[in-house]
Symmetry: C2
């Protein structure tokens, strides 16, 4: 398999597209962000360029929300990435509700909402990374399978790829995690020669 060096490019996609909510200058605001990471089970990171309107709001309240829109909300979701809350009241597109934190606005139309409390902020030059513990999660009833938690196919998330600036849908389930690899077992695995670095 021939490899081509393409420079230091990020191909870590697709990522779920989210709407990150915060109160900014006294009003709820939502920004489209696909660069949300999982730090550990109930701790998320949100990466925001410092030029965004949202950053000051998150810093002021120490809270934010991560809302997962469905594919049917793609126009509104994309729009919230095209315009700034400095110019436009983006919250008017949605019904906003509040949860336990009271300062993290959430979007009722999104099937999943996670309200988060900032535990750490990283300064990475052009970007600020807000790391937050999930305090409570709100699910639309129709996305929950009784006794089995949420059903991702019912959430119908918007999957973003930076290459070609595309939105994809979730495809079919094709295997089970912590399961598909069971048929390979240790006897198929033999020792590898040491890597070049180990010889240096």
């Amino acid at each position: 398999m021939k490899k081509i060096e393409v420079g230091p490019r990020n191909f870590m996609y697709p990522m779920p597209t989210t709407l990150v909510g915060a109160i900014v200058a006294g009003k709820p605001n939502y920004i489209t962000i696909a660069h949300v990471g999982v730090m550990k089970y109930a701790t998320l990171s949100v990466s925001l360029h410092k030029r965004h309107h949202t950053n000051a709001g998150i810093k002021e309240s120490g809270t934010f929300s991560v809302n997962l829109p469905s594919a049917r909300m793609v126009k509104e979701t994309d729009y919230c990435g095209l315009v700034s809350g400095q110019d436009v009241d983006k919250a008017a597109l949605f019904e906003t509700f509040y949860g336990k934190l009271k300062t993290a606005p959430m979007i009722r139309e999104c099937p999943v909402n996670m309200e988060c409390k900032v535990i750490q902020t990283l300064d990475l030059g052009t970007h600020e990374i807000f790391i937050g513990d999930i305090v409570e999660t709100y699910c639309s009833e129709e996305c929950l399978t009784p006794g089995k938690g949420e059903d991702l196919t019912r959430v119908d998330p918007i999957l973003f790829s930076t290459s070609g600036a595309r939105y994809f849908r979730l495809g079919e389930q094709f295997a089970l995690a912590w399961n598909a690899g069971k048929e390979l077992n240790a006897k198929d695995v033999t020792m590898n020669p040491p890597p070049p670095a180990a010889k240096d």
Copy 2:
């Protein structure tokens, strides 16, 4: 849309399943991780529970790789999450190659490989988060569309959901980013009343 509180649960899925590579105790090792975040364009975060064998290797060299396996590699990918490098030489499943950093082993069979240099490490109690700048990215020729960068559909990534421990495929492209929202414009947006928190 009725909302149900489900506790502080993480529904930030699907996430691309990766194989994170490092030299550990002198040998290349790979671990299955879906909790890789984008910090900024060419900076990634990798979340690893402290019990893992890989952490010491990343700390020793200050480098790691993020390899994106294709759906056809699901057995090998899942296997690398089932067994520890302390017990099994998981690198024997793949052809390992090295790039510019020399100490970040990468998997030739994976269509995308990103080699990273650690710039910061976060201690989040049970987990360590390794934040790394991408130094170089390697793509298999067949995943690149001439002049258009990588084609995610050709990468055919393994998308992980913690709920039900499922692996999904990428679905169809259905919209363009920074485009789908253009037909909504500011005149459709009116001012919202202030949030409850702003009245407190």
